[in-house]
Symmetry: C2
């Protein structure tokens, strides 16, 4: 007889969360439009569904290539599970590159 | 002696939800860009915090004035607690008005 499978409630929810969590990346460059959008995104995104990462190009210019590959043309932008959404308009990626690279 | 205050768990959560729920309105006009953004917004917004309403101007042209007052310049747009965020670019409000009014 196999032993019963015992999963604590905490582990169950962690496992469930890992299996359904979707990656969300919010790219910005610290501009006023970016900061307003960051507050909205951080507050509004369902943290039970999305694992949200905030990337500030001023502190992580090495992430620019990955953002451009995902189709980010301006900041702020939110990439949800590979789909890119530009939220308002702060600066073009060309301007971001001039400032931080 | 006052009777004890009895609140069922369901009522407690309903009361709690009502007190902290913030209004979110997603305005769109049925365009391809709008539909992609609508799916994202409906999926990603934390339904425990936001009471999300989807407004399609093609079906509710009487809501155009209220959207413009909130600062909506193009669709799709998300108004979160009075703050307007334009998500990508589908059509200007001028074009929307030409189509639906």
């Amino acid at each position: 007889m196999k032993p019963p499978l015992i999963v604590s409630i905490r582990n169950f929810y962690n496992l469930k969360a890992k299996s359904i969590m979707t990656k969300a990346v919010f790219y910005h460059a610290g501009c006023a439009v970016c900061v307003a959008a960051e507050q909205m995104v951080a507050e509004a995104i369902d943290s039970n569904k999305y694992n949200l990462e905030i990337v500030h190009f001023g502190e992580a210019s090495e992430r620019i290539a990955e953002a451009e590959e995902a189709g980010v043309k301006s900041v702020p932008a939110l990439v949800l599970d590979g789909n890119t959404f530009h939220i308002n308009y702060g600066a073009s990626m060309e301007d971001v590159k001039k400032l931080v690279v």
